[in-house]
């Protein structure tokens, strides 16, 4: 029934629910039509602004993927607002989303297929047709498959975009590659360690998303907002997480603010005073400037304190968890151990020494967390998600939320992965295809998936695959170490990347450059024989590509949102405008590659799996949401009391509400009317199902069905590696931390962070490299924002700041040629523009004022930073008190950008830093192989004074 939420129509809607109960189904349909006519912001346009059309889609300018209401004119995007029907962002947009025009019409757009004519890295290309490009790519793929064995020598990396299912299908089904990957493998996997192992989840966030639809005692559904009686957290502790300007979870912004206005204390633990920390400090919360990389120590001390004081929720632990005693025993086994300074592990004194946060403050916060309900401990992308030892903080944060009984409690924490919609289309079934390979002279049969370059080789527990290790694999090849093909070796010979830019973001830039340009000494040919980049913006990866293909921009393609709400919400990406130039959608590219492979004689391709089946994008995406919402009818209050409890729900919200369902008691499935692309299109692009809490049967998807303090997932991995090769990550763990593993940990564990003052090994490096170098994620300095000069007018978080040199550039900007009154008339056009000093934000290095004084550095100076491997980068400096001493903080991806497609940011490359040039490429986390992006030590070796400060 509840097709969508809209602020405007909600009052009508909620009364409609009660009225609908008295109506027959036909009448109900008529009722819905009436509601549709009464609602919708398109009424803002109709008859008011002639020539404008409204379309609903969702954002991809950043990974938050908010619902959008887009106004177009003459087939061009003009205005972007939030879509009120989508409760995820509830009609609101951040400081990026409305600037989408600047990206759609960026000067960096790739408009035609291009073929390399120079060396890789030179960026010399000629324009070719799609046919020429596809023929080149697919002939090479067929050749590689024949020469080296099969599709396992080819990697398809779907990069930093979502809606990737067609590319997975292309990889698995057409190319025969067992290992398509996506950016998740280089995006905060350590942060997810705890949720993954405790409940097979992913991201834990505070229960602050409102409005939500909640079943009422009288049977009606009601939309409840912050002014309702629904509990909100009484405290939220964010560690290395900055939802106000770097969110993946849009609703955390308004939710945190609303909770705080109702008395919630917001604590932000971060080496830098990000926007969230600054706001918290001004609004009865606080910023706790922790030493980088010691979140493990901080959370360990809090957990110990809670357990010592007996603050844990024993009833919750007894009912909902498994293995707590083993976890506690292992954790407590450290309590009497002392470190080299004589402090007992996880004591307040020990944590104070490591974190530099006073023991009184740690005690105060532990008291708050231990004695206050409900509340949430939330850790994020930077401090934990991008660190080598981030696993441990993730484990401890998860444990704290569980032992305090806050998981799935109203006003507590929610795993937003487990309670969101299911969607499909990845076509993983192709990995079950039988293949044969010759191993040590014997012909062996197995499945395509048995050739996986990570799972069956060096990273048997590599969750989301191990993109950070691709350079090594390109240089050294793969040896299968588990399964039927054990002993089989193959090289990596082709890489197709779509919508990603691993040269900048996939661990160390210089290592990627080395791998992509390495040649065979005998032939002089590139080791990686084929490198393809498919994207909408011409980025650094394109510079190294043999073929560059134009992909449709986010306003030009289709998909289903990948958002993380606190309950099931589906949002349609609809084509708002036609693709620019010769750009194609994902389904079009999938079909085109499959067809070209088929035409070049690839026998793996069946036309019925591709272009004969998916004649339009709508067909693909409608099939992908046949499994939607896929959540169970569980929780309090029960979402659908008239439907069987515990059964999986499929189909539209209105059909489930009205009882237009078929119930399969054997499979425990309730099938409503299938949701389709067309249904979403008719309902402002959004479907919303009811919210509930204590959805343990849904939110806990571990093997035991309980929250696991002893991890069945890791026990399973240990079974897999038993008697087999020692995982590569274990070697790295020993090398970097001295900790020896002979199997994966299955409950509490500890190792020291590498390259960190809290490590006993630090003293060796401390004299030469006294500074910790960290990066932070900020909207304005990443995910293609650098290609949009409008974004350079929005300083943020002390790392994206107007410290530019004077320059001139051709940029897409509003040009208004007519003098008229009424709707402002502007057109995005490319024009030359001069940017004065101090008017354009660039990626800067934030330096604490005390450090600046001791190094003799001023705002606007350009420093040269040397890391612990002797690599250097230059960066302009912002002297500030918003970062703690001993730290150099820079944006991830915001500086040192050397592709002209990076727009005006490219022009600042000589005095802004690409921090990933300073990452140690071998520092890959022991289980997931994730790069240690934030584990960098360094020093300042030179200071230049070009006079960039304007004050």
């Amino acid at each position: 029934m509840m097709a969508k939420i809209s602020r405007r129509n909600f009052i009508k809607f909620s009364s409609a629910v009660a009225a609908a109960a008295a109506l027959g189904i036909d009448e109900l349909d008529a009722f819905l039509v009436n509601l549709k006519l009464q609602s919708g912001n398109e009424k803002d346009v109709e008859g008011r602004f002639p020539g404008y059309d409204v379309k609903y889609t969702y954002d991809s300018y950043c990974p938050s993927e908010c619902g959008l209401e887009v106004w177009t004119k003459g087939g061009k995007v003009e205005k972007i607002y939030g879509n009120y029907a989508d409760p995820y962002n509830h009609g609101k947009m951040c400081g990026k989303g409305p600037l989408g025009c600047g990206l759609v019409y960026s000067t960096g757009r790739i408009l035609h297929p291009m073929m390399r004519v120079g060396k890789r890295g030179e960026g010399k290309f000629k324009r070719v047709s799609w046919d020429e490009a596809l023929n080149h790519i697919t002939k090479k793929i067929v050749e590689i498959k024949k020469k080296y064995g099969g599709g396992e020598s080819i990697i398809v990396d779907t990069g930093d975009m979502t809606d990737t299912q067609p590319y997975y299908r292309m990889a698995y089904g057409a190319i025969g590659s067992p290992h398509p990957v996506e950016h998740g493998s280089i995006c905060d996997t350590p942060r997810r360690f705890g949720p993954k192992n405790f409940i097979n989840g992913k991201r834990w966030e505070p229960d602050v998303m409102r409005p939500v639809l909640v079943r009422q005692p009288d049977g009606s559904l009601k939309e409840l907002d912050y002014d309702s009686d629904l509990p909100l957290p009484k405290y939220i502790m964010y560690l290395g997480w900055n939802p106000f300007t770097a969110t993946r979870i849009h609703w955390e912004s308004r939710g945190t603010v609303s909770a705080a206005l109702k008395g919630c204390k917001v604590i932000v633990v971060d080496p830098g005073m990000c926007n969230t920390a600054a706001w918290a400090a001004n609004n009865n919360g606080e910023w706790v400037p922790i030493r980088p990389g010691t979140d493990n120590h901080f959370l360990g001390a809090i957990l110990r304190y809670i357990l010592e004081k007996g603050y844990e929720d024993k009833d919750f632990i007894a009912k909902q968890t498994k293995g707590f005693d083993e976890f506690e025993k292992e954790f407590k086994s450290y309590w009497n151990k002392t470190d080299s300074n004589g402090f007992k592990y996880f004591s307040l004194e020990w944590a104070e020494e490591k974190t530099t946060i006073s023991k009184d403050k740690i005690r105060e916060l532990a008291e708050l967390i231990g004695k206050t309900k409900p509340g949430a401990v939330v850790w994020g992308m930077n401090g934990i998600g991008h660190r080598y030892a981030g696993y441990i903080a993730s484990m401890l944060g998860t444990a704290i939320n569980v032992v305090t009984g806050n998981f799935e409690a109203p006003g507590g924490v929610i795993d937003c992965n487990q309670v969101r919609i299911s969607k499909d289309g990845y076509a993983g079934h192709f990995n079950g295809r039988e293949v044969t390979r010759t191993v040590n002279g014997s012909v062996i049969k197995g499945k395509q998936g048995d050739l996986h370059m990570d799972e069956m080789s060096d990273w048997p527990a590599g969750w989301y695959d191990v993109v950070g290790d691709h350079p090594r694999r390109i240089l050294e090849g793969v040896e299968i170490k588990y399964g039927p093909f054990k002993g089989y070796k193959y090289p990596i010979k082709a890489r197709i990347e779509i919508g990603g830019n691993t040269v900048i973001s996939g661990s160390s830039t210089w290592k990627w450059q080395e791998a992509l340009t390495a040649t065979d000494p005998k032939t002089g040919e590139y080791l990686l024989e084929l490198n393809v980049h498919i994207d909408s913006i011409y980025l650094e990866n394109s510079l190294y590509a043999d073929i560059v293909l134009p992909a449709a921009n986010y306003m030009e393609r289709y998909g289903i949102a990948d958002i993380y709400p606190s309950c099931a919400v589906a949002v349609l990406r609809d084509q708002v405008v036609k693709p620019l130039g010769e750009a194609k959608t994902q389904v079009e590219i999938m079909n085109a590659v499959a067809k070209a492979l088929y035409d070049n004689g690839d026998k793996d391709v069946d036309p019925k799996d591709f272009w004969l089946k998916y004649k339009h994008d709508d067909v693909f995406w409608t099939e992908a949401i046949e499994v939607t919402p896929g959540v169970k009818n569980v929780g309090e209050p029960l979402p659908y009391p008239k439907l069987p409890k515990g059964y999986k729900l499929l189909g539209t919200p209105d059909s489930l509400e009205a009882g237009r369902v078929k119930i399969d008691h054997d499979k425990k499935v309730v099938q409503g009317e299938p949701i389709t692309v067309d249904w979403l299109r008719k309902n402002q692009g959004v479907a919303v199902w009811p919210m509930a809490w204590r959805r343990y049967e849904q939110a806990v998807q571990s093997k035991s069905g309980k929250i696991e303090f002893v991890w069945s997932k890791m026990e399973h991995e240990n079974e897999r590696i038993k008697g087999g090769a020692r995982p590569y990550g274990f070697e790295l763990l020993e090398k970097y931390t001295g900790t020896k593993w002979d199997k994966y940990p299955t409950t509490f564990f500890w190792f020291d962070p590498p390259y960190n003052p809290a490590s006993p090994r630090y003293s060796e490096m401390a004299k030469k490299y006294p500074l910790q170098i960290i990066s932070a994620r900020v909207h304005q300095g990443m995910t293609a924002t650098y290609a949009n000069p409008q974004q350079a007018e929005t300083p943020s978080d002390s790392i994206w700041w107007p410290l530019n040199k004077e320059f001139e550039a051709e940029v897409a900007d509003w040009v208004t040629e007519k003098n008229s009154i009424g709707m402002p008339q502007g057109t995005m056009k490319v024009a030359k523009k001069r940017f004065a000093k101090g008017t354009h934000c660039v990626g800067v290095c934030a330096v604490n004022s005390k450090d600046a004084e001791s190094y003799g550095v001023k705002t606007g100076d350009v420093i040269t930073i040397e890391n612990m491997l002797g690599k250097t980068q230059k960066s302009v400096v912002l002297v500030t008190d918003t970062v703690r001493p001993g730290v150099l903080k820079m944006p991830f991806g915001g500086g040192g950008r050397f592709s002209p497609g990076a727009g005006t940011t490219y022009l600042q490359k000589d005095y802004t830093a690409n921090i990933n040039q300073l990452v140690d490429p071998n520092l890959l986390t022991p289980i997931f192989g994730f790069p240690g992006y934030l584990d960098i030590l360094g020093r300042i070796i030179a200071v230049e004074r070009p006079g960039l400060a304007t004050i």
Binding site: D44, R48, F49, E78, K79, I80, Y81, G82, G91, K92, M93, C94, G95, P98, L99, C101, F244, T245, H250, S253, R254, V257, L261, M273, N275, T276, A278, W279, A281, N282, N283, P289, H779, P789, Q790, Q791, E793, T794, P795, S796, V811, D813, W814, V815, T816, E817, K818, N819, S820, I821, G822, P824, G826, F835, N848, K850, T880, D881, T882, R884
Partner: protein, 220 residues
Amino acid sequence: MSKKYALLVDLRKCVGCTSCQVSCKMENAVPIGEFRSKVDIADTGEYPKPKRYFLPKICNQCDEAPCILPCPTGATYKREDGVVMVNRDVCIGCGRCVGACPYGARFIHPHIPVKNDPSKYAKDVPEVKGKKARDLRVVDKCDYCSHRLAEGIEEPACVRNCVGKARFFGDLNDPNSEVSKLKASVKTTDWHPDYGTKPRSTFIAPDKEVFSAADGQINR
């Protein structure tokens, strides 16, 4: 009774995201380098207890608007509903109003040409002496998205998209409007009341230091 429009920003809810600034830019086709609306970030204090403020700035639509009197053509005027407008058909781009606004809320639009004949005013307005309409550009400023108001959408783009739901817009003559209710129940503060301009755009600002810390003008 006419409407009496006002905008109110609750700084307790402002997260410093700049959505208002960029939403305005796209709504009103404001070119790079100029602003109708802008968020200023200002730092005070020292580590470990520094403070960072966010102050979203916008034209105050002053009831005693200092920009009206200097205008030699009558292009700048205050509507009955309180919105201070620039009539682009009449403006000759002399820039006097830009200089007169203490908040820096006005700018010479780099693209929109003047329509009115400046030679008619050259005697009294030396700024345009010897210049033709095509050489001059009109003044631009926030008008509470008057094109939306004209069509009954009482929600400027900056309010429409505000992440923290910190911005409120409405009719002070309607006691049930959100702005009226907030003004009646919570103490509000003007940005520089000492200028005596009687701003319509006001703030809920528990910490008054925000105004002295973030004292830069919108366009300068």
